[in-house]
Symmetry: C2
Subunit: 315 residues, 2 copies
C-alpha cells in the first residue's frame, strides 16, 4: 500500500464521518467535519481490482488507521466498491433518478460500525443501455439543488448527462480515454504517437484532429489509419501524433453528443488537469458555452452532501 496522508488538523473540529471514493484502480479517503470539510486524506492504489484479491474490509481498516479515524465513525463510499464484482453490490438506481435521493439506495456492508456504499445509476433501455458508478456522486457534488442542464465528465469512459430539475434523465458513455490508451499502446498507432507527459493543453494538431472529426464524424476508423499514413508520407510529424489522436477521439465524442443532446449550447464541464483543458478547448471550438467546474473534489463534495442526508441529525 502506498498512501499519501495529510496530518489531521489539530484543534477543536471533531471528525463526523469518513468519505471514500473507491474506484477501479484507486482509493481516496477523507476524514470529514460535520460541515463537510476534509480534515485529513489517505490515498492509495488499492482500487477494486486490487481488493478482489485482498478483500475490501482490511484495506478500509488500514486507511481508517492512517486517517486516525475514531473507532466506529460512519463511513460513506461511492464508486466501484459497489459493483457486482466489488465489496457488495449496491443495485443501480434507474433513470430518471433524483441526485438528492442517491443516499436512499445506499447499502450497508461490513460487520462493524455503519459503513454504506452509494448506488450507481443505470439507463435500463435496450436501445441505449448505459451505466455509471461514481459519476452520480460527482454530479451531486457539482450541481445545485434543482439543477437543469447538460454535464460532461471527461475520463477513461467519458460521460454526457442530461439533468432536469435535479434528476438524471439520460446519459451516454464514450470510450474516448480508453481508446486513446489502447490505440497508443497496443495498435499500429504506437508508431505514430510519442507517449509523453507533456502533451500541451492546446495545440494546432489537437484542433486539427477535432476539426477532422467534426467534418467527417462517421470516419473515425479511417482517420485513425490516416494518422499513420500522414507520417509515412511526411505530411505530419510523429511529435504531433498524440495531440492529433486526442483531438480525433474527443472531436468524435462531441460530434455524436451534439446529435444526441441537440446542437451546441451551454454545458457544465467537470474539468480536471490537462484532459479537462483539452475538452474545454474542443467544446469551445464546437460552439459550446462552457461552465467549467473543478472536478478534483467533486466526489468528496457529493459524498458530503449524501452523508448529511443520511446522518445529518447526528452530526
Amino acid at each position: 500500500m502506498s498512501a499519501a496522508i495529510a496530518a489531521p488538523a489539530s484543534g477543536a473540529v471533531p471528525a463526523a464521518f469518513v468519505a471514500v471514493d473507491w474506484g477501479t484502480s484507486s482509493f481516496r479517503g477523507w476524514l470529514m467535519s460535520p460541515a463537510g470539510e476534509a480534515l485529513a486524506e489517505s490515498r492509495g492504489a488499492e482500487g477494486m481490482l486490487h481488493c478482489v484479491n485482498t478483500g475490501f474490509a482490511p484495506v478500509l481498516a488500514d486507511h481508517l488507521a492512517r486517517l486516525r479515524a475514531p473507532a466506529g465513525i460512519p463511513v460513506l463510499i461511492c464508486g466501484m466498491a459497489g459493483a457486482r464484482q466489488g465489496w457488495s453490490e449496491a443495485p443501480y438506481l434507474k433513470t430518471p433518478a433524483r441526485l438528492d435521493a442517491l443516499h436512499e439506495g445506499a447499502i450497508q456492508v461490513g460487520s462493524h460500525g455503519d459503513i454504506r456504499i452509494l448506488p450507481g445509476i443505470a439507463q435500463a433501455r435496450a436501445d441505449r443501455p448505459d451505466v455509471m458508478r461514481g459519476e452520480e456522486t460527482q454530479l451531486l457534488g457539482v450541481t445545485e439543488a434543482g439543477f437543469s442542464g447538460l454535464v460532461c465528465i471527461p475520463g477513461t469512459h467519458s460521460k454526457w448527462i442530461r439533468i432536469e430539475a435535479g434528476e438524471v434523465v439520460e446519459f451516454s458513455t464514450y470510450m474516448t480515454g480508453e481508446l486513446f490508451a489502447v490505440l497508443s499502446q497496443h495498435s499500429i498507432l504506437a508508431y505514430a504517437v510519442e507517449t509523453t507527459d507533456r502533451l500541451p493543453a492546446d495545440s494546432e494538431p489537437f484542433r486539427d484532429g477535432v476539426a477532422t472529426a467534426l467534418a467527417a464524424p462517421t470516419g473515425l476508423t479511417a482517420s485513425l489509419f490516416r494518422l499513420r499514413a500522414a507520417q509515412l508520407l511526411d505530411f505530419q510529424q510523429r511529435t504531433d501524433g498524440s495531440a492529433r489522436l486526442s483531438g480525433l477521439l474527443i472531436g468524435t465524442e462531441i460530434s455524436d453528443a451534439m446529435r444526441q443532446y441537440g446542437p451546441a449550447k451551454s454545458l457544465r464541464l467537470l474539468r480536471a488537469g490537462r484532459l479537462g483543458q483539452l475538452y474545454e478547448t474542443a467544446l469551445g471550438e464546437c460552439g459550446f458555452a462552457v461552465d467549467a467546474v473543478d472536478a478534483d473534489d467533486a466526489s468528496r463534495r457529493g459524498l458530503a452532501k449524501a452523508a448529511i442526508n443520511i446522518w445529518g441529525r447526528q452530526f
Copy 2:
C-alpha cells in the same frame, strides 16, 4: 522457421520464377511455371518483423532451398519487404496508378540473381493520406485489364479502392480488424466478448451490430461501451459480444465508405474465410450487389501477371 512445403510437381513443366508475398508477419513463396501456375509452395512466419533481426536474404535463401528452386531463378516479391523498414524501400507509386504498370516501379535487391520487389501505392493527399503495400498486387490479381469499379479488401486494415479503367484512383483504409483485436484483448470489452474461433459467419447479434452502426454512424465510441452496459443490465449475452462487436465495426466501416464512394451499388469483394463471409453479409444488408472473388490466391495471381510483364520474353 516453420514452413509447409508441397513437393514440386514432377514431370516436364519447368520452373520459370518464384513469387513471394512477404507480409508483416508471414512469408508465402511459390515456385511458378511460365504460365503462372504454382508448382510448389513454402510458407512461414518469417514476416518483415522477424526479418528486421535476421536479415531478409537468408530467409529467402532458405525458402528457395525448400522450394528446390533452380539456382539463379528470378524472384518477384510484393508486400512489406518493400517498406522503409523492410529489405529495401520500393517507393510508393502515387494515385492515380495503373495496375498494369506496377512492375515498372519494382526495385532490385540482393547481390545474386534477379530479385525484385513491387512497389506499394500511396494517396499523397494532405486531406486523405493513405498507403497500401501488398493490396495493389492483390488488385492486379483479381481485376481484368481495364476494370472499373469499387473493390473492398477486408482485413486487419480493410481497404476500399476505386478503380477506373485499370487505374487506382482513390482509396481508404479502415482499422476495423485491428480495432476488433485490440478492443477484445486490451480494453474493458475483454469482459464483454468471448474469444472463440467459432464466431459464426452470420448471426442475429452480428446483423444487430451492423444495423446499430448504420442507424448511428457517428456513435461508435458510445456503442462500444453499450456493448458492456447491455450485458451488465442483462439485455445481451456475453456469448453474443464478439459477433456484435464485429458487426459494429464492419457496419461503421461500410457506413463511412458509402459516404465516401457514393450510395450502395455493385462492389467486388475479396473474400477469404469467415471474415469475408461477414463482409458479404453486411454489404448485402447495406444494399450492395456483391461480386465476391476468392482472395486466397489474389497475391500469387497478381505476382504472376507482373512477372510476365517483367520477364515474359524469357519464359
